[in-house]
Symmetry: C2
Subunit: 760 residues, 2 copies
C-alpha cells in the first residue's frame, strides 16, 4: 500500500504504477485497474463539464424576452452578484487566517512542509469550489428564468425543458467539477506525499463545508428577511400581489431567492459530495485498503454520473403527465441505472475478493435508494394531497395558533421515519461492511483488533457514497425549482399574459417539492458523513498521539468511553452550538425584516406615486439593507461555530470534541428535518387553501394559513438548511485541527481521569 | 460494608448496627453516626408532614366564601378529582403489568424472591407516592383558591398569605413524605437484603417517574386543550373575558389548571426528589462507600428541609415590596441556611475524612445555588422588564408570524446559559468528587481502576442532591402559582369586586414566574440525574454480566466506546422517542381543542340564552370531552416510551440503551428549556401589551401577541414539562430492566463486533 513506501517526487510517475502493487494484498491485480480508476473518474468529470457547457449554451440561445423582462432579470442578476462578491470578501478574511493556521500547524505536527502545504491547497480548492458552485448556480438561474418564462408562451413542456436544462447545467457542472477535483487532487497528493495524502486531502472537505456554512447562513438570512419584509408590507398591508413591481422590496426578494436557495443549495450539495468522497477515501487510507477498494468511491461516483447523463436527456412529459411525476420517474431511472452499473463494475473489478464483489455495491445501493425514500417521505409530510397538510389547513379555520402548533407537531413527526431510516441504513451497512472488508484491512493504527470496526464503518461509508453519487440528478431537479420560481416571478413582474403565468405556477409548485426533498437529502448525507468522519477522526488522533506520546492505543480508546464526563459536557456544548446558530439565524431574519419593512413603508409613505404606477420605487435601497444586515448577522455565529470545537478541545481534551460532534449530530439532524418539513407543510397548507379549499383566497382561514407560511419561511429556508453545513463543519474542522489540538494539550487531555479504568 | 455480609432477616436488628462498622473504613466512627442519619431524616420527614397538616388545617379554617364562590370551586374540585381517578384507573393496568415483570424478572435474575419482591414494593411505593402527590396537590389547590380570593377582600398580603401557606402544605408534604419513604425503605431493605438493597430501592425511582410521565402528558393535554378551546371561542370569537362563567368551557379550563399545572408539577418534583435521592444512594452502593458518606443524601435532604421550615414561616411583605421579590428573597434565605447546615454538619460528621468534610458540602452547595441562578435566567428570558420579551412584543406591531419567529429564537437562546451552567456544574463537581472520594471507595465491580471515575460522579450526584434538597421551598413557591391563578379565576367567575380582582391579578402574574422557574429547575435536575443514573446503570450491567457470563469488565467497558455504531443508532432512537412524545402531545392538544371548540360553538348556537346570562351552559360536557380525549391521547406515546428502551436493548444490546439515554438527554434537556421559556416569553409579551404598551388591549399588536401566547401554551404547559419525566423514565427504566435485558441477550449484545478492539 502506497503510504508504506516513501517515494520522492522525482520518481513520481513510476511510483504511481507501483502504488497499485499492494504488497500484502491477497489478490494480485493488474496495474491498470489501480490508478486507472482515478483517471477514469477524472475523464467522466471532464465529460460532465463539457455536457454542462453544451447545455448552458443551449439555454443561453433561448429567447431572453423583451426589454422589460430583460431589465428585471438583469436587476436581479446584478443584485445577486453584488451580494455574493461582498459575502466572499468578508469570508476571505476568515479563510486566509485559516490557511495560515492549517499550513503552519500541520507542517509543525507532521514535520513536513508538503503535508502542511498540500493541506492548505486542498482547503483552498474546497473553499473555492463551494464559492464557484454558488456563483455558477446564481449565474445560470438568473439567466434562465426569463428564458423559461418566455418559453412558457409556447407550451408548459417548453418552459419545463428550459428550466430542466438550466438545472442540468448546475447538476452536471457541480458533480463533474467535484469529481474531477477530488480525483486530480488524490492523484497528485498520492504521488507527492504517498504516506500522508489523505491527511492533506481531507482539508478540502473542511474548506468546502466552511464556505457553505457561510453561504447558507448569510444567504438564508438575506432571502427570508427580504421575502418577509416585502410580503408583510406588500401582500399583507397594501394588498398588492407577490412579485408586484410596485413593491420596493421585490428585487431584493428575488435576489434573495438566488443567493439563498440557489447559491446556498449549490454550495451545499457540492460540499456534501466533497465531504463524503474525501471522508470515505480518508477512512480507506486509515484502513490501508487495497487500491481498488480504496478507490471505489471515485468509481461509483463516476458511474452514477454516467447514469445522470442519461437522466438529463430523457426527461419527457407524456400526455397529461404531471411534471412532478415525470421528474420523480427520471430520478428513479438514474438511480436504477447507477445501481446496475455498481454491481456490474464490482463484479468485474472485485472478482478476486469473493463476496465483497457483491457486498460492496450492495452497501452503495442501499445508500442510493435513500434518495427516493426521502423524496416519498418528504412528499407525504409536505404535500397537500396527504393527510398532514390537509389537517394543518383545516386548523386554519380555527386560528393561526393551531395552524402553527399542528404544523410544528407534524414537523416533529416527519423527522421520525427519516431518522429511523438512516439508523437502519447504518446498522445494515455496518453489518455488510463487516463481512465484506474485515479480512482486507490492516489499519494504520489500532492493530488487527480495530479491523472489524473499521470494516463495518467502511460499509456505511460506501452507503453514503451511493447516496451522494446521484447528486447530479438531485441537484438538477432542485435547481429546476428556483428557475421556475423566478420565471413565475419574472412573468408576474413583467405582466405576462395570464395563461403563461398559470403554466409557470404549476412548475413553481413542482419546484417547491423538489427543493424540500433536496433538503432532506442533504441532511441525511450529513448524518452518514458524521459517522464516517467521526471514526476517521478518532483513528487520526490515535495515530498522532501514538507517534507524539508513545501512548498505548487501548489507553486512548478507553478515554472515549461514554463514561468520560467530558464527553457529556462536550455533547451539551454541541447542543449549545446548534441552538446558538438556530437562534441567531431566526433572530436575524426577524430583525432584518423589520428594518426592510420600515424602509418599504417609508417609500410608500413618502412617495405615494409608487402605488399608482406613477413613480418607480427605489429597489436598490432595500437590496442594500438586506445585503448589509445579512453580512453583519452571519459573521458572529459562524465564527463561534469555528471556535467552539477548538476551545473545547484545548480545555477539555479531544474526547470532548468527540462528544461535541455526537451532540451536534443527534440534535441537528432531526432539527433540520423538523424545520424544513414543517416549513414546507405550512407553505403548502396555504397553497391548498389558495386553490379554493376551506374558503379560498382572502378568507379568514387563508389569513391564518399565511401566518403559518410566514413562520415557516425562515424555518425551511434559513435555519433548517444551515444544519447540514453546520454538522459538516463540526466534523471536518476537528479532523483537520485534531493533530494540532492533540499536540497542544497532550494526547489524553488535561482532565482525563478515567485512564485507570484499564486496570479493571 | 453491609452488602458484603450475608445476614438473615432474623438477626436483622443486630446487623443494622453492625452495618455501621465498616471493616475497611479508614476512619472508625461510632455506631450512632451511621444508621442514625436515616433515623434523623425520617424524623425530619415526619415533622415536615405534621407542619403541613397544621398549615392545611389553618388554610381550611379560612373563609371559603359565599355559596356562589363555593359552588364554582366545588365544580372544579369535582371535575379534577374525576379526571385524576379515571387517569389512575387506566394507569393501574400498566402498573400491574410492570409489577409482575419486575417481580418475576428480578427474582429470576438474582435468584432471590426478596430482591424481586422488594423491588416490586419499591416500584409501587414510588408510583403511589407520585399519584398521592398529584392528588394532594389538586386537593389543596382547589380548596385554597376560593379562600385566597376571599382573603383578598382584606388585603393583598392576606391573599398572599393564604396562597403561600397552601403552597407550603404541598411543599412540606411532598418533600417530607418523599424523604420519609426513602429513609424508611432504605432502612428496611438494608436489613432485609443487605447486599442488594440498592437494586430494590431504585425501582422506587422508576415507579415515581413513570406515573409522573403519565400525569404530565395526560394532564398537559387536558389543561391546554381546555384552555385553548375555551379561549378560542370565548375570548377570540365572542369577545367575553377569560374565566367568564357564560363560557361552557370555563370549568374544564380551571379543572385543567389543577390536573395539569398542579397535580402534574407536584408529581414532577416528587419524582425528581425520589430519583435523585435513590440514584445517589444507588451510586454510593456501587462505590461501597462508608455509611456516613453513603447517607449524605438523606442528611442533606433533612437539613435543607429544616431550612425550609424557616422559609415557610418567614415570608413577609415589607412596605411596598413586590410579592415576587419577597418570594425570591425567601428562597435565597432557605438556600443560604441549607448551605450553612451542609458545611456545619459535614464538619462534625466527616471530621475524620480530611478535605472531604469540606468538599462534600461544597459539591452539594454548588447544586443548591443552581436553583436561584435558573430563577434569574428564567426571569431574564420570560419577564417583560427585560429585552427579550420587549423585543417579542415589539414584533407584534408587524405580524403574528414575527412574534412567533422571534419568540422561538429567544427560546432557543434561553436554553444556552442553563445548558452551559449544568455542563459547568458537572465539570466542577466531578473534579471536586474526584478529590473528595477517590480514596474512600472500593467499587463492587470494575476494581480500583474505576474508583476515580465513580468518585468524580459522586461529586456530581451530591450536587444534584443539593439542587433537589431545596425542593420543599421551590414547590411551595410553585404551588402558590396555580392557587393564585385559580383565585383570580374564581374571583372573575364569581364577579367579585374590581379591587379584589386587581390584587389577585398581581399575585397571578407572580405565580406565572414561579411556575416557569420550577420547570427550569425540574429539567436541570433531569440532566444531572441522567449522568448519575447512567453511570449507575453501566456498573450495574457490569456486575450482572460479570456474574452471569464471567466476562472481563474491561471487555464490557470497551463495548460502550463511542465507536460502537449501536451507540449512535441508540442515540438516534433516543431522538425519535423525544420527537414522538413532543409531536403526539402537541398534536393531541390541537385535536382535542378542535373538538372542544365545536362543542362550545354548538352550545352558544343552540342555546343563545347562555350569552345573555339567561341559561346555564353545560359545563360537564366539555369536562367530559377533555377527560376522554386526554386519556385516549396519552396512553400510546407513553407506552412507546416504555417499550423503546426494552426493544432497543433486546435487539441491539444494552450498549444501544446507553446511546438512547444519551440521545434523549442531549435532545430533551435543551428542548424542554426552549419550549418552557418561549411559552413563558410569549405569554408575558401579551401581558406587556395588555398593560398598556404598543397600543394596549384590543390593538392589532395585542391580537398578534395573543396568537403567540396561544402557540406558547402547549409548548410551556404540555410538551416542555413532559421532557423531564420522559428523560427520567428513559433513565430509571433501564436501571430496573437492565439485569433482565443482559440476562436475555448476553452481556455483549448480539451485534457487538468491536470487542476485538482490546487486542490493540
Amino acid at each position: 500500500m502506497m503510504h508504506h513506501k516513501d517515494t520522492s517526487i522525482s520518481v513520481a510517475l513510476i511510483s504511481t504504477f507501483n502504488l497499485c502493487m499492494r504488497t500484502k494484498s491477497k489478490v494480485p491485480f493488474p496495474v491498470v485497474y489501480g490508478m486507472s480508476i482515478a483517471v477514469f473518474s477524472s475523464v467522466v468529470g471532464i465529460i460532465s463539464v463539457i455536457i454542462a457547457v453544451y447545455l448552458a449554451r443551449w439555454v443561453l440561445r433561448q429567447d431572453p424576452g423583451p426589454e422589460k423582462v430583460r431589465f428585471i432579470s438583469e436587476a436581479i442578476a446584478t443584485g445577486a452578484r453584488a451580494y455574493l462578491f461582498r459575502q466572499y470578501r468578508y469570508l476571505s478574511a476568515v479563510l486566509i487566517a485559516l490557511i495560515v493556521i492549517i499550513f503552519g500547524g500541520l507542517t509543525a505536527v507532521y514535520h513536513s512542509v508538503s503535508v502542511g502545504g498540500l493541506s492548505a491547497v486542498a482547503f483552498v480548492v474546497g473553499a473555492l469550489g463551494s464559492m464557484i458552485a454558488g456563483y455558477l448556480g446564481m449565474y445560470v438561474t438568473t439567466r434562465s428564468s426569463s428564458r423559461s418564462a418566455m418559453a412558457a408562451y409556447k407550451s408548459a413542456y417548453d418552459a419545463l425543458k428550459v428550466a430542466w436544462r438550466a438545472g442540468s447545467v448546475m447538476g452536471l457542472m457541480l458533480a463533474g467539477v467535484a469529481l474531477l477535483l477530488i480525483s486530480v487532487l488524490y492523484m497528485g497528493f498520492a504521488i507527492a506525499v504517498p504516506s500522508q495524502w489523505a491527511i492533506a486531502l481531507i482539508a478540502m472537505a473542511f474548506g468546502a463545508s466552511l464556505v457553505t456554512l457561510f453561504m447558507r447562513v448569510g444567504g438564508g438570512i438575506y432571502t427570508k428577511a427580504a421575502d418577509l419584509g416585502a410580503d408583510l408590507v406588500g401582500k399583507v398591508e397594501k394588498g398588492i400581489p407577490e412579485d408586484d413591481p410596485r413593491n420596493p422590496g421585490v428585487i431584493a426578494d428575488n435576489v434573495g431567492d438566488n443567493v439563498g436557495d440557489v447559491a446556498g443549495m449549490a454550495a451545499d450539495v457540492f460540499e456534501s459530495y466533497v465531504v463524503i468522497m474525501t471522508g470515505t477515501l480518508f477512512l480507506g487510507w486509515v484502513m490501508n485498503l487495497p487500491l481498488t477498494l480504496l478507490l471505489l468511491p471515485l468509481l461509483y461516483g463516476a458511474l452514477a454520473l454516467l447514469a445522470t447523463f442519461v437522466g438529463v436527456f430523457t426527461l419527457r412529459l407524456k400526455g397529461n403527465q404531471h411534471p412532478l411525476s415525470a421528474i420523480s420517474f427520471d430520478i428513479y431511472e438514474v438511480i436504477g441505472i447507477a445501481i446496475v452499473l455498481f454491481f456490474a463494475s464490482s463484479y468485474v473489478l472485485l472478482k478476486g475478493y469473493g463476496m465483497t464483489a457483491v457486498l460492496a455495491p450492495l452497501a452503495a445501493s442501499l445508500g442510493a435508494i435513500v434518495a427516493p425514500i426521502v423524496l416519498a417521505l418528504t412528499g407525504y409530510y409536505t404535500h397537500y394531497t396527504y393527510k398532514p397538510v390537509k389537517e394543518i389547513a383545516s386548523q386554519a379555520t380555527i386560528s393561526p395558533a393551531t395552524v402553527i402548533v399542528t404544523g410544528y407537531s407534524y414537523g416533529l413527526m416527519s423527522a421520525i421515519p427519516v431518522v429511523l431510516l438512516i439508523a437502519a441504513i447504518i446498522g445494515a451497512t455496518y453489518a455488510i461492511g463487516y463481512f465484506a472488508f474485515n479480512g482486507l484491512t490492516t489499519p494504520i493504527v489500532g492493530g488487527a483488533g480495530s479491523a472489524g470496526l473499521l470494516a463495518g464503518i467502511y460499509g456505511t461509508a460506501l452507503a453514503s457514497v451511493g447516496l451522494l453519487s446521484v447528486a447530479g440528478i438531485i441537484i438538477t431537479a432542485d435547481s429546476f425549482g428556483p428557475v421556475s420560481d423566478n420565471a413565475a416571478g419574472v412573468a408576474e413582474m413583467s405582466s405576462l399574459p395570464e395563461e403563461v403565468r398559470d403554466r409557470l405556477d404549476v412548475l413553481d409548485a413542482v419546484g417547491n417539492t423538489t427543493k424540500a426533498t433536496t433538503k432532506g437529502y442533504a441532511i441525511s448525507s450529513a448524518a452518514l458523513a458524521a459517522l464516517v468522519l467521526f471514526v476517521g477522526l478518532i483513528f487520526e488522533v490515535l495515530s498522532v498521539a501514538k507517534q507524539s506520546y508513545a501512548l498505548n492505543s487501548a489507553t486512548l480508546l478507553n478515554s472515549i468511553m461514554v463514561l468520560n464526563p467530558n464527553l457529556l459536557i462536550g455533547a451539551f456544548v454541541g447542543a449549545v452550538v446548534v441552538y446558538m446558530l438556530a437562534s441567531r439565524t431566526l433572530g436575524a431574519v426577524g430583525k432584518t425584516a423589520m428594518e426592510i419593512v420600515e424602509e418599504i413603508r417609508r417609500q410608500f409613505r413618502e412617495r405615494p406615486g409608487i402605488l399608482e404606477w406613477k413613480e418607480k420605487p427605489d429597489y436598490a435601497r432595500v437590496v442594500d439593507i438586506a445585503t448589509r444586515r445579512a453580512i453583519q448577522e452571519f459573521m458572529l455565529p459562524v465564527i463561534v461555530v469555528i471556535i467552539a470545537p477548538i476551545v473545547v478541545g484545548l480545555v477539555l481534551g479531544w474526547q470532548a470534541i468527540v462528544g461535541l460532534i455526537l451532540g451536534a449530530i443527534v440534535i441537528g439532524f432531526p432539527r433540520a428535518l423538523l424545520m424544513s418539513n414543517a416549513g414546507g407543510a405550512w407553505d403548502n397548507a396555504k397553497k391548498y387553501i389558495e386553490s379554493g379549499n376551506l374558503g379560498g383566497k382572502g378568507s379568514e382561514a387563508h389569513k391564518a394559513a399565511v401566518i403559518g407560511d410566514t413562520v415557516g419561511d425562515p424555518f425551511k429556508d434559513t435555519t433548517g438548511p444551515s444544519m447540514n453545513p453546520l454538522i459538516k463543519v463540526l466534523n471536518t474542522l476537528p479532523v483537520v485541527f485534531a493533530p494540532m489540538i492533540v499536540a497542544a494539550n497532550g494526547a489524553i487531555g488535561p482532565w482525563m481521569l478515567v485512564h485507570g479504568l484499564l486496570a479493571l
